[in-house]
């Protein structure tokens, strides 16, 4: 078996050339916050491509139709970026709560999505914001829907040799979004449960609502019953009580028989209230 070769393309074009010319298996690394620490091992052979040096893959830009976030943008950058905070606050909030300061300084948007952890903070936020992804492989660039890369069954939908190069959130966003997380401690914790919401408002009433939960299934789980408890209704006590009940029912349906059910069924109510509190 041949040894592992490494490359660090300086931009998208160099990456495209590299992929087109690569003969053997290709693996990718960006921040290294998963790949460089146990228990995951680096590949032993083929080509390892470091995406973190490609400057244009870290760009964040806004045009009429979309907010485009380069895959190599770090979570620390996402957390403070003014346009992400303004247009997609759920993503900024999720990025700010992911890992620790040190991890956020290294970890990238693309790396988080490619890792496809069931407890990811980033993917529920992206799901709530109807994100889709641009990928690059030797076959060229492709626009892939969220479900194609983050299938409901879990794992990553990336093909071998396919790298995420950007996430794209369609604009305009008609609603306000927010993200909340429940971990075993305040910081540096893997989510036990998280929620990402985007809600439109019609005066004092909720309009359309998109709500996703993380860490209760292999991939972000859309909570349609809880969405229905809010959609089109006045933001009053009766609605909130229905929302509480719907959230508990969603958790019961998602993790029946799991040891953590009793706890999460109660805690999700608190998390749901925190979530709505962030929209206010």
């Amino acid at each position: 078996m041949s040894a592992l070769a490494a490359a660090a393309p300086r931009d998208r074009a160099a990456l495209a050339t590299l992929l087109a010319e690569a003969a053997g298996p290709v693996a990718f690394i960006a921040g290294g916050t998963d790949l460089l620490v146990a228990p995951r091992a680096l590949p032993c052979a083929g080509l390892l491509v470091d995406l973190s040096r490609a400057r244009d893959l870290a760009a964040i830009s806004v045009d009429r139709d979309a907010l485009r976030i380069g895959a190599a943008a770090t979570l620390a950058e996402l957390a403070v970026h003014p346009q992400i905070r303004a247009l997609a606050p759920a993503l900024a909030e999720a990025a700010a709560l992911c890992g620790s300061v040190q991890i956020r300084n290294r970890a990238t948007l693309g790396g988080n999505v490619a890792t496809a952890s069931a407890a990811s903070d980033i993917t529920p936020a992206l799901a709530g914001l109807e994100a889709r992804f641009w990928t690059l492989s030797r076959d060229g660039e492709r626009l892939r829907p969220f479900e194609a890369l983050i299938p409901a069954a879990g794992g990553s939908g990336l093909a071998p040799g396919e790298a995420i190069i950007a996430a794209e959130i369609p604009l305009p966003r008609r609603g306000r979004s927010a993200f909340v997380k429940l971990g075993p401690r305040d910081d540096l914790a893997i989510a036990r449960l998280n929620l990402a919401l985007e809600a439109e408002f019609d005066g004092a009433r909720f309009g359309a609502v998109r709500l996703f939960a993380g860490a209760i299934a292999a991939a972000p789980q859309r909570l349609r019953r809880a969405e229905a408890a809010l959609a089109g209704r006045a933001a009053d006590a009766a609605t909130l009580a229905d929302f509480d009940r719907a959230l508990s029912a969603e958790v019961e349906a998602a993790i029946p028989g799991r040891a953590s059910l009793g706890y999460k069924r109660r805690a999700v109510v608190g998390l749901g209230r925190d979530l709505l509190g962030r929209l206010a």
């Binding site: 146990a38 429940l182 075993p184 401690r185 305040d186 910081d187 540096l188 914790a189 893997i190 953590s260 009793g262 706890y263 109660r266 805690a267 109510v269 608190g270 998390l271 209230r273």
Partner: protein, 744 residues
């Protein structure tokens, strides 16, 4: 006081923060062999077949050791001196493994990668044996009982009797530096072992015992330590590294990773206690019955001492006229336990302090007032060993601590500051801990202080600074007594070939025992220096005062002589330089005392506990270095908060596997979880301590769980007694209260 009471930075602090200090794993050892241990995946099994052929055939592999080709000699890793006896049930590589993580084999190779790759090639067949994972089903290995007064009659007379079952978890030390040992063969069939240990003489004794060689064939040298907290008190890897070095005639480097340190070293023992306290209507504790079961895990280690240690700590906090205690230690097929900051005291203290608050509630008394009514007085004699508790200033800790914290104001306002969702609670706990091993017969420390030719002073003792600042503290004591400045000292680290015997850094003894030995040795050296200087200066020794590394005449001609000039003059005359060696044997074991105060906010929906305010009041006798004392308190609180709220190694009761074997699953309290920790030092002086000082390092972690749990129970009106208070446990209690009959 010139040097004592000053906030001097750590003498080795710059080296540490600049990375100049070399820890054991960073020390380059030319040609050292690397080792990977194979650990048992079974909780109790016989290693029926171990086929090492594939591993031995792998590139770079030098040897494989397991029970068939290593000494089967049994030893106990908790001893600290040759000849000390303790139940011997550990072997380097047992034929019958007793816990998941027990040592099965060692693969020795030229590189770490080769050792790790080859370890995967070992083919091991296990024959499973029945495993005991529940301490309630296990046989005791040690039991301590004692009783005072007429307990049943006192209970019958009590206004209230409150019974609680309190349980505390097994927890990891989580030192940043994982376990490590280096060893190399030396001349004369000897072996040298370098390790970040708490006692070089313990390393010598345990290695000699495990290998069946004379102690003087083992030289143990202490390396800088990246955190211990008791975790490195017992030599674990040292015998294996020494054995391989002698066997193969080459240097050996054995470094555990985090998971191995979690699975195959030591941790805090778990405890379950049934406690009953009887109170008179005026708040006096009239009777107490404490039954505690301690799960020490797969090997005895020092577990047989724990029931007695707990009895000792239980006996010196409150004056209880009628009491009964029974402590039992049991072996289970779970990872072994050992010393951990407080050595049993955090467990027994959580038991009494949580129960006492529930008793205060039952009687409608303020918990602060209840404690003030019952705490021991200075000079009291404790009933377990009959020792004098010394200048026990627990009342000052409680009264002044409560005032500084705003106890009554916070407590009264807690309900008002609560919301339907967020419950505010205020709690406190009192605590005591020991100062050394007295009345044990080897509680002594020997210190040599010597003037060197360049005028610097050498301080030599078997010192192991665990990162607490013991080195800086002892130098401050010596500098104060000698009239020298702290940077003028060179400290020789512990080396069993060079240092006088000392039982090591344990039992909160360094400042109190080694510090007093240092003070006395410095006084003796000062007398020597003054005698020598008086001859040179042609005056009486009594006329000379020492300060800042020089001697001055008190009267008459303005004349001064620096230590350096004195040393030079003496050397020029061919005279010996002044030196003093002194052994100080402890003759008391006073208590250190503390009261901790916590305010928490409990989220009734998510069960999360936020520490909102914290104050720790400590009776330290005198703070030799207040900054380091505060640092010890901050670190002690950090460990205690984890013990109260987050940490549990979480051994599966069905399989014996540990869930908390990595830091992504085992959560300590980090800075974001901690509030600003206020400290209040009570400095009333302990007559037998150096400049009045006594211990703080261990006791700082003792009252934390009690204070935090009591605050949570106050917030919710709950009676939670199972540590840690995870959000699940808090929510389960709330669910059961909200929906009686549906949940348990």
């Amino acid at each position: 006081m010139n040097v004592v009471a000053r906030r001097l930075p750590l003498l080795d602090g710059v080296e540490k923060v600049t990375g100049a200090l070399r820890f054991a794993a960073d020390i380059p050892v030319e040609g050292a062999l690397c080792v990977k241990l194979a650990l048992s995946p079974r909780p109790h099994a016989r290693v029926a077949v171990l086929d090492a052929r594939a591993a031995l055939a792998a590139p770079g592999v030098v040897a494989v050791f397991w029970h068939e080709n290593t000494p089967r000699r049994r030893y106990n890793s908790a001893i600290w001196a040759e000849g000390q006896t303790a139940p011997e049930d550990e072997t380097m590589f047992p034929e019958i493994v007793r816990h998941v993580g027990d040592r099965v084999a060692a693969v020795v190779a030229e590189t770490q990668d080769a050792a790790e790759a080859a370890a995967k090639l070992l083919a091991v067949a296990y024959e499973d044996l029945p495993a005991i994972l529940d301490p309630a089903e296990a046989e005791p290995i040690a039991e301590t009982s004692f009783a005072v007064g007429d307990v049943e009659r006192a209970f019958a007379s009590a206004a209230v009797v409150v019974a609680s079952r309190v349980s505390t978890p097994k927890t990891h030390h989580v030192a940043i530096e994982t376990h490590v040992a280096l060893a190399a063969p030396a001349e004369g069939g000897r072996v040298t072992v370098w390790s970040p240990c708490q006692s070089v003489f313990a390393v010598q004794a345990v290695v000699a015992k495990a290998l069946g060689i004379e102690g003087d064939r083992v030289r143990a040298i202490k390396t800088p330590i990246g955190g211990s907290f008791g975790g490195k008190a017992e030599p674990i890897l040292e015998p294996i590294a020494a054995f391989i070095a002698l066997q193969l005639g080459r240097a050996v480097r054995l470094v555990y990773d985090r998971r191995e340190t979690c699975l195959a070293t030591r941790m805090r023992s778990a405890a379950v206690a049934d406690i009953r306290t009887g109170l008179a209507a005026d708040g006096r504790i009239v009777a107490r019955d404490t039954q505690i079961l301690v799960d020490v895990g797969a090997y005895c280690t020092g577990g047989h001492w724990l029931p007695g240690s707990m009895a000792q700590r239980l006996s010196r906090l409150y004056a209880v006229p009628n009491k009964r205690y029974r402590g039992r230690a049991v072996l289970t097929n779970t990872p072994p336990t050992g010393a951990f900051r407080g050595y049993g005291t955090p467990q027994i203290n959580a038991v009494t302090e949580i129960n006492l608050d529930l008793a205060a509630r039952a009687l409608g008394l303020d918990p602060l007032w209840l404690r003030l009514r019952n705490v021991v007085r200075p000079g009291a004699s404790e009933p377990y060993q009959g020792l004098d508790v010394g200048n026990a200033r627990i009342r000052d800790c409680l009264i002044l601590g409560a005032r500084a914290f705003g106890w009554f104001r916070r407590r009264r306002g807690a309900a008002q500051r609560s919301t339907p969702r967020l419950a505010v609670g205020i709690g406190l706990a009192a605590a005591t801990h020991i100062n050394g091993c007295y009345p044990a017969d080897d509680e002594a420390s020997t210190v040599t202080l010597a003037l060197k030719r360049d005028g610097r002073v050498e301080l030599a003792l078997a010192l192991h600074d665990l990162g607490s600042g013991a080195l800086t503290t002892l130098v401050q004591i010596a500098a104060e007594a000698l009239g020298a400045s702290p940077p003028a000292f060179d400290v020789t680290p512990a080396d069993s070939d060079l240092s006088a015997y000392d039982l090591g850094t344990r039992a909160s003894r360094t400042t109190y025992v080694c510090g007093e030995a240092t003070r006395r040795a410095a006084e003796a050296l000062k007398a020597e220096i003054r005698r020598a200087a008086a001859r040179l200066m042609n005056c009486a020794a009594d006329d000379l005062d020492g300060a800042e590394g020089a001697l001055r005449r008190r009267w008459g001609p303005q004349q001064s002589l620096s230590f350096a000039a004195l040393a030079e003059a003496l050397a020029a005359r061919g005279e010996a330089l002044p030196a003093a060696t002194l052994t100080h044997t402890a003759s008391a074991n006073p208590g250190s005392y503390a009261a901790h105060f916590a305010e928490v906010v409990v989220d009734r929906l998510t069960g999360r506990v936020k520490l909102a305010a914290y104050l720790a009041a400590h009776d330290v006798g005198r703070a030799i270095n207040p900054m380091l004392v505060e640092g010890q308190i901050h670190g002690g609180v950090q460990i205690g908060v984890g013990f109260a709220l987050y940490e549990d190694v979480d051994v599966d009761p069905a399989t014996g596997r540990m869930r908390g074997d990595r830091l992504s699953r085992y959560h300590v309290a980090n800075a974001p979880e901690l509030p600003r920790i206020e400290t209040l030092l009570i400095e009333k002086g302990e007559p037998s301590g150096p400049y009045g000082a006594k211990a703080v390092g261990e006791i700082a972690t003792v009252p934390v769980a009690g204070a935090v749990v009591n605050a949570v129970n106050h917030a919710l009106g709950a009676d939670l007694t199972q540590l840690p208070l995870t959000p699940e446990r808090i929510c389960a209690w709330l669910d059961a209260r909200d929906r009686p009959g549906r949940e348990t």
